[in-house]
Symmetry: C2
Subunit: 463 residues, 2 copies
Amino acid sequence: MATITGVRVEDVRFPTSVTADGSDAMNKDADYSAAYVVLETDAPGPDGAPLGGYGLTFTIGRGNDIVAEAARQQAVTLVGRDVDELAADMGALYRDLTADSQLRWLGPEKGVVHLSLAAVLNAVWDLVARRAGKPLWRLLVDLTPEQLVDVADLRYLSDALTRDEALALLKAQEPGRQERLAHLERTGYPVYTTSAGWLGYSDDKLRRLCQEAVDAGYQHVKLKVGADLAEDVRRLTIAREVLGPDRNLMIDANQVWDVPQAIEWMRELARFDPLWIEEPTSPDDILGHAAVRRAVAPVGVATGEHCHNRVMFKQLFQAEAIDYCQLDTGRLASVNEIVAVLLLAAKFGVPVCPHAGGVGLCEMVQHVSVLDYVAIGGDLTGRVTEYVDHLHEHFTDPVTVADRGAGTAYVLPSLPGYSTQMYEESVERFRFPDGAYWVGDTSAPGTTVRDTAVRDTSQHVPH
Amino acid sequence: MATITGVRVEDVRFPTSVTADGSDAMNKDADYSAAYVVLETDAPGPDGAPLGGYGLTFTIGRGNDIVAEAARQQAVTLVGRDVDELAADMGALYRDLTADSQLRWLGPEKGVVHLSLAAVLNAVWDLVARRAGKPLWRLLVDLTPEQLVDVADLRYLSDALTRDEALALLKAQEPGRQERLAHLERTGYPVYTTSAGWLGYSDDKLRRLCQEAVDAGYQHVKLKVGADLAEDVRRLTIAREVLGPDRNLMIDANQVWDVPQAIEWMRELARFDPLWIEEPTSPDDILGHAAVRRAVAPVGVATGEHCHNRVMFKQLFQAEAIDYCQLDTGRLASVNEIVAVLLLAAKFGVPVCPHAGGVGLCEMVQHVSVLDYVAIGGDLTGRVTEYVDHLHEHFTDPVTVADRGAGTAYVLPSLPGYSTQMYEESVERFRFPDGAYWVGDTSAPGTTVRDTAVRDTSQHVPH
């Protein structure tokens, strides 16, 4: 027996706006934040401390408290539930949590109540994997095709993918699972980096970071664009110089353009041979993305970090609107909805290159990418998962990237869970608004935070 | 001078689940609620009391506190602003309020932060109309085409509608404005009723309410469907018997079907000759609605009450997915986004039949429908606006419907504002969780609430 005895939800905010980490054409002053859910149980964990589950969704500052409150209201319904019973039917738990029609009205399946649901379900999946003593990716690839399809939320998808089709697809990938897993255990899962390309960085910093990416073995580097065309040309010229003609350069407009403007702007940027243009327009504009894609080919179109649910992804695939599916582990409703999107992507033959960065997203996407390759998509062609090198120091099981001869890659995590537990010291220090950092004590003693994100806090006025 | 001096946001919930008002295949226990925003000023109103602005968005219970908190965070930024300056450039105010990229992340433009923005902007529009001493519809139809297009949020729409096209469309309607207005002042704006058709009602109650609708002069009646096919057939048989072959019968599935299921179910229900099937599937499924529409013609497809923004409506029009546009005044970001959708609908030739019911939605949609006919769409063909007869008793300027010879219709409101002010007694009594009703005092003295929605409160355990 292991019973969920309590729930704690924290509003944790890192002052990343100080260093312009995360700055792009739409988001100029992001304070990377997490609505962080802790599920407490009465069972002992492997280290003697009680077994817990830790999950989060990512936001960029104000409103993180609103998401946290929604998560609290959803999570309290779990108190008293037995962990092993939950683990035995995670599809049923998902349906329970999404069946509250009063909360559903506030979406449905989008915005705050869907972000908060992601945080809650991420915590449950973390708990279930910890209880099983496995990293989440291994728990998932150990499921049979029937178990995996039972986990997936296939509602509203049957015009594109029936349960039988999903099952057939999973069964077809079953024979190669062990071989593909062995490959990933040798090489890791390929990544690209966005650390170089934030808009707020100077040209010198951009050049230096591009060079560091090359030196570190990256074959893909992404830059933000869309604020000013002349500046984009200047920055892409620098990046191309450093990367050379053969490495992949991706660009990301973060939704700033209308459709005709995206097409026009890309006429000017196509000469830098980008692999993809990411978020060229409103994330809701399926038909707009399809129009942009037709106009800018052979440059690819990528989107997904703001794609709010599987019904939107279904249509992006049906409309042939995207070349790369960038699903987000904090925006989709955890593994249940992610498996559905991975199945759709596999059926439509669109590579999944998950969005990451933020807070804890890298920690989660590595599990998803392993699941995709081993059990669902079964292919690495055109796949590369985002990696951003910040804020990992706040996690107890941070991502590791290494180049083992096949390019820079996520090393498969080995500890039990979803890699989503934060150090209590980090939570305490950056809890908003009462953590030591936010009350103005920028040199609080007794923390173990190795704090790259707050290097310049001496100039920061908490807000 | 009139300065906004304070903001008050209330979580008001009416216990409608007691009587099954509002029950449908998706939403079985709705407690109709409002996140209610009050803007206080230092200027005198016409009655001597200080001038205020009153706005709301509608939810169905749990989570209304979350929307209220988001509205509070958005509304407090208005304190200190001058009302006349705001009124002079409502487009700029809209851009200010939507420019918070941190809150934008929680949507963007959808879910809780968009619902709350609607409530805040509805309050500002109410305030501006009160300050001008006009009902909102008159303030809007008195704007020039240039002023009206400056109010509209046209971002992300230029592939479907440019500013110049919007302006040309408004100018083309200018000569007929006075004539159309005079027509509405004589006849009112045509309505249909949903009061008869909630799923939770017995057959006898259904038959009685249909007969009452016929007796009251309604030419359109709407029923909920989708929970059980045999029951739908039985209920539609009753309704058709009472309505006869010539009156219009609409049906509403409230999103319960997958696309293939919607098509199959409608094969059985088509024989009742429904004018439209409403919300046959996920509100996000643009391509799914288009597929259903192709399959069920000549039955029309209607949707919109959960269509979360103008970008989604743009695509519903582009994909020829709907026959009726049911925009919602609590879900779109007030007049600014509504004008954009009315312009799109006019360009694509889709009749706008706004969603109403809930709390205060009828009060708002009458203003929108007048604006549409007089200044934008310019046509009544195929138009009929929803009307539900409950909860109006809580508003200081409730809707009036009457049959003046052209069918049952909203009588044009004449008091200044957006008709969105609630009685303070109602707010006090139904404020959650501390209002007299919710603390268990179901017979609180001293209220003036004429309370159709809480007839059966003696059996109700507050939750």
